[in-house]
């Protein structure tokens, strides 16, 4: 799925990385536990999380994940946006719950990591 399609399905706003909206994302992974994210061997994925803090961005940086969607209507702060921009990430913010977001993306064809 293209990032712009993901944003549309999730009724999400683009907090940064709008220049990357044409990029294809193959898989989705949901977690509020960053240690789990750090165990993944794949990286062409979008991280779907309700954990909105700097460490979510850092985790994505280390794991080579270049797209994150923050769910439950949570907003990234300016420090997070700055770090995300430094790393060329696309950040989306969706008003939907984690369950709803995941269901919609799965239905739209985004693949699970496992």
């Amino acid at each position: 799925m293209k990032l712009k399609e993901i944003a549309a399905v999730l009724n999400a706003t683009v907090a940064c990385g709008s220049e990357r909206l044409e990029e294809e994302i193959e898989m989705g992974y949901c977690s509020d536990l960053m240690s789990d994210v750090l165990t993944l061997d794949t990286d062409n994925l979008i991280l779907i999380t309700g954990l909105v803090n700097l460490q979510a961005i850092r985790t994505a940086e280390m794991a080579d994940i270049r797209a994150i969607v923050f769910v439950r209507n949570k907003k990234a702060n300016s420090h997070m946006i700055e770090l995300a921009k430094e790393n060329g990430m696309c950040i989306l913010e969706s008003p939907y719950s984690l369950f709803n977001s995941s269901g919609l993306l799965y239905q739209a064809g985004l693949k699970p990591v496992y």
Partner: protein, 137 residues
């Protein structure tokens, strides 16, 4: 090449800065991306451990032609039973650390998974030193 960074216990805002810097250096050295990912994930987990458990620490990195050696040493409570701490799911992390998205007892096992050689030395009441070695493939 040698690099050194301080870590402050409890400072979650700056956790990951050393890993980020090491990642930039390794990219410049044109190291394979999978190898870089393993190295920075291991370092990041080790950093989070210091921030989560210790008072202060340092990251010392030594890079040569075919390997990277990273020493993360801290002044902190130490680990009474390293074997137990290596078991996935074993954790002594506070609620605050868990709220940050860590503290599920996966850090040390994940460091082991991402390093070619790992040694941990710890003295209760003094601190812990984690030595991680990765070869460039």
């Amino acid at each position: 090449m040698k690099l050194s960074f301080p870590i402050q216990g409890g400072d979650f805002t700056h956790a990951g800065h050393p890993s980020s810097e090491v990642k930039k250096v390794l990219k410049q050295l044109d190291i394979d991306v999978k190898t870089i990912k393993s190295i920075v994930i291991a370092l990041y987990e080790a950093e989070v451990n210091v921030v989560a458990h210790a008072y202060r620490g340092t990251v010392d990195v030594e890079i040569d032609e075919n390997k990277i050696c990273i020493l993360v040493s801290d002044e902190g409570p130490g680990i009474p039973d390293i074997e137990l701490a290596m078991q996935p799911g074993y954790s002594t992390a506070s609620k605050e650390v868990r709220d940050m998205g860590f503290g599920a007892g996966l850090g040390l096992p994940n460091i082991k998974k991402n390093t070619d050689e790992l040694s941990i030395e710890s003295e209760v009441g003094k601190g812990t030193t984690v030595k991680m070695l990765n070869y460039f493939s």
